[in-house]
Symmetry: C2
């Protein structure tokens, strides 16, 4: 008889620059026992996201506390209730656990759990297009970007989990959508599979010049996931009254930035072009989640919205997958499958 253990990935060292596999370690622990008022969850899918890099720093000026060392980092999971000592939940229930973490099992007192249909066909979508990732794209684009039909939307990290959704929503709302992504192959996918009007490889020369050709009427909305040299190329082409939802700055999350411009020039451009630049966090706007779900499900069900996923098998692969996230290995939402 095999003893079932709680496999965890621990953060054992704070990454210096880009994360490397040695920053993590696989650890097996006993499966925890739920107390009165608690649930034991078996994690089925773990979401891997760039924001996690910030929380791996000790002092990072972020909006959430740093992850502890020698413990599994937090992270959203889709999980099955395997034991319930909490009213209102039964064994077999499928939920999204906002902090299920990098581990096979988790305890929960029910806080923040979101129920899913127990027979949901693709539960990993509850982390991606129908989860916080999709919600981030939807809220940032609609509430801050405020797209109007005929406008030009540029999305950086267009092949990533948020960017791939933000660009598609822009298309569905009538924008001309230009993606920026790393690599010719990924750019091809963004155009052919996701229906962007164009996608530019930021690794090829003269991004600024190609952007001028791809966005001949200038840029009305820039959905910012990246920062750095990509932002620099976009900035001079922003139109008057442009909106810039600042969702992420992944180019700098590892501590290296390539943006050569000065703050004065940046701020001056806000006046000259009446630009609105606004950072946001999905967690602040959860009252809009039902509206988001309704609209996105409609588009998904009619096949108008595509939800690319990169699914990695097994918690043992989580660290390598996370490392690859900063090298652009994934297309669409990156999730780790822990169990069926």
């Amino acid at each position: 008889m095999t003893t079932i253990l709680n496999r965890q990935v621990h953060l054992v060292r704070r990454p210096q620059g880009a994360p490397v596999p040695g920053d993590f370690r696989i650890v097996d622990r006993p499966v925890p026992v739920p107390g009165e008022g608690e649930l034991l969850l078996r994690n089925l899918y773990l979401s891997l996201d760039p924001y996690m890099r910030g929380r791996m720093n000790d002092s990072h000026g972020s909006y959430a506390p740093p992850y502890a060392l020698d413990a599994p980092p937090g992270g959203g999971t889709v999980a099955r209730v395997v034991r319930s000592r909490l009213d209102g939940f039964a064994e077999g229930d499928l939920v999204v656990a906002p902090d299920g973490g990098w581990q096979s099992f988790a305890l929960s007192d029910g806080t923040g759990l979101r129920r899913l249909p127990n027979d949901m066909a693709q539960p990993s979508q509850a982390l991606g297009v129908l989860g916080m990732t999709g919600f981030t794209a939807w809220w940032g684009l609609t509430a801050i970007g405020r797209p109007q039909a005929g406008e030009t939307l540029v999305v950086s990290a267009a092949g990533g989990a948020v960017g791939s959704v933000a660009g598609q929503i822009g298309r569905l709302l009538g924008c001309r959508v230009v993606g920026i992504a790393g690599g010719a192959g990924k750019c091809r996918q963004v155009v052919e599979d996701l229906g962007f009007d164009a996608c530019l490889d930021h690794r090829a020369p003269d991004l600024a010049g190609r952007l001028g050709e791809a966005a001949p009427d200038g840029i009305d909305i820039y959905f910012e996931n990246v920062g750095g040299a990509v932002r620099e190329a976009v900035w001079p082409r922003l139109n008057t009254d442009a909106r810039v939802p600042v969702c992420g700055l992944v180019s700098g999350y590892n501590g290296v930035t390539e943006d050569a411009g000065g703050i004065h020039a940046l701020l001056l451009s806000l006046i000259v072009k009446r630009i609105r630049l606004q950072g946001f966090l999905n967690a602040d706007h959860l009252d809009s989640f039902p509206d988001f779900e309704r609209q996105m499900r409609g588009w998904l069900d009619t096949g108008q919205l595509h939800a690319p996923e990169t699914i990695v098998d097994g918690l043992d692969q989580a660290a390598a997958a996370f490392v690859g996230l900063f090298e652009g290995h994934n297309t669409g939402k990156l999730v780790v499958r822990l169990s069926d």
Copy 2:
């Protein structure tokens, strides 16, 4: 008999760095003769504003074309119609001419003229608190800043034309208002005459530390007129969900900036604190001008709003006054009186 001439101040050289008197020259020209459909205006007051510095550059990436050399710069004036060949205007009418310019007389075809009561007691206020200056403060603060009672508002260039109004409006709307200005004497005026809760001298040491004491609950709105080192001191104290109307960046208008921070850190702070940063131009929002006027007149008439002015006598003093604008010589609105 004296021939009346049209005295003009010409821009004869594009300023390098801070403007100097030698960049300007007094020139006397014949008074122009209005054609059919034109008015001859006699300028009574000329508005001097920091934005003019940008338009004195040849290529400045601004929102308006550069001023021509060997001609009077544009600029708002209060003017009296002295000859009318345009229906609807009569001799003696008092108007605001948005581009009356640095000269004693101007022609107008009526475009953009705003009528004033012919017996207006303090017509210079139509350039300041009741004109574009006041409107800039009002629109930026109310539409972008969205002040709520009990919030903390910080205003840079608090003794200047826009800042002195923005801070007072903040007070009237129930905010705690902290000004930042250059010099102990000006700071005293801002507190004693304008009713700011506090005013910090940015020339004295440790602005950041004093700001922490003056804004113990952090900063909800930063009305940005200055940029540079002042912005740097403000930034770490911005609260979550802060709003930053970007009205001006006068610290850099002469080509020197002192802001040492990087763009990545600035943009990251927008996400971490969900900051909204938005540049604006008063001219885009003139449909709100009647609302502005109604509210401001109410506050002025009841003595709740003070309208400090620095009035310089004679066009011959315009260049020196403009030079002094960047050295902080004026308190409140700076206008040149050309005629009674």
